[in-house]
């Protein structure tokens, strides 16, 4: 569950990045509306409202993430690892390879023996 929330947090940060791009785009659209000979006031209000809303979303999202990190982060680096399980799995695979090799040897001995069998 914690890993899915970590994935969710990273996805939330991705969406915040897209939101930042939307902030700049809405600001540009609002100013572009002003450039026209006859600016449409409703459009201008709409773009400005979208700009303010997306800016607000960015700020609240990022301050939420920073709050979470203040609760969770310590000064120490994480020292856990999965190395022991990895080593044991490597040894198990080594055992399997060894058993395969011995069986191959036995197979060759048996085949050799059966090819010489008719000479008995």
């Amino acid at each position: 569950m914690a890993s899915s929330s970590a994935v969710e947090r990273l996805q939330a940060l991705e969406s915040i990045e897209k939101e930042i791009a939307a902030v700049l785009q809405n600001a540009g659209l609002a100013v572009q509306e002003l450039c026209k000979d006859k600016p449409n006031e409703r459009q201008l209000d709409r773009h400005t409202g979208q700009f303010l809303k997306s800016l607000q979303d960015v700020e609240s999202g990022l301050s939420q993430e920073i709050n979470y990190l203040t609760q969770v982060a310590t000064g120490q680096p994480h020292e856990g690892s999965s190395y022991s399980a990895q080593k044991e799995t490597q040894m198990a695979l080594h055992r399997v390879e060894h058993a395969k090799k011995r069986l191959a040897d036995l197979n060759s001995v048996c085949t050799q023996g059966s090819s010489q069998g008719p000479q008995q």
């Binding site: 569950m1 914690a2 890993s3 929330s5 970590a6 947090r9 990273l10 940060l13 915040i16 990045e17 930042i20 791009a21 902030v23 700049l24 600001a27 609002a30 100013v31 002003l34 700009f51 800016l55 960015v58 700020e59 990022l62 301050s63 993430e65 920073i66 990190l69 203040t70 969770v72 982060a73 310590t74 000064g75 120490q76 680096p77 994480h78 856990g80 690892s81 999965s82 022991s84 399980a85 990895q86 044991e88 799995t89 040894m91 198990a92 695979l93 055992r95 399997v96 058993a99 048996c110 023996g113 008995q120």
Partner: protein, 140 residues
């Protein structure tokens, strides 16, 4: 212990700097946008001619727009820094990732060992016949 406190303080100051960067950048975007809209107002002729006034307003708008873009880029960098910090320091998720990997590896190891034990049992039965054949032949 004092070294740990020192490290924790630097992490706290790092997070405070993130907060400050966020507030500064958002304030910069908002202020510059407001000033652009203010500068778009057509004013009556003042001391300078209209051409100079419009040139000055255009230059000011260029600079403020560049400021908005700079603040947006700085926010993107902040998001990237937060992502790095989250991946490295979010201990619950790091622990969960390590546990999942350990369980996966233990499952593989258990499967290998179970299959080897089943193989051993089969071989024991077959070896009985093989040994009988070998010891009763003239090649022993």
């Amino acid at each position: 212990m004092s070294q740990q406190r020192g490290i924790t303080q630097s992490k706290e100051s790092l997070l405070k700097s993130y907060n400050k960067r966020l507030k500064d950048d958002v304030k910069s975007i908002l202020d510059n946008f407001t000033e652009i809209l203010k500068a778009a107002k057509v004013e009556e002729q003042n001391q300078v001619s209209t051409l100079t006034q419009s040139d000055q307003a255009r230059y000011e708008m260029h600079v403020r727009a560049a400021n908005i873009v700079r603040a947006g880029e700085s926010l993107m960098k902040l998001v990237s820094d937060l992502k790095t910090f989250l991946i490295l320091n979010d201990f619950p998720s790091v622990n969960e990732g390590i546990n999942q990997r350990t369980q996966q590896l233990k499952a593989i190891q258990g499967e290998c060992d179970t299959k080897l034990l089943a193989l051993r049992d089969d071989m024991a039965a077959d070896l009985y016949d093989l040994e009988e054949e070998y010891y009763s032949s003239r090649h022993k």
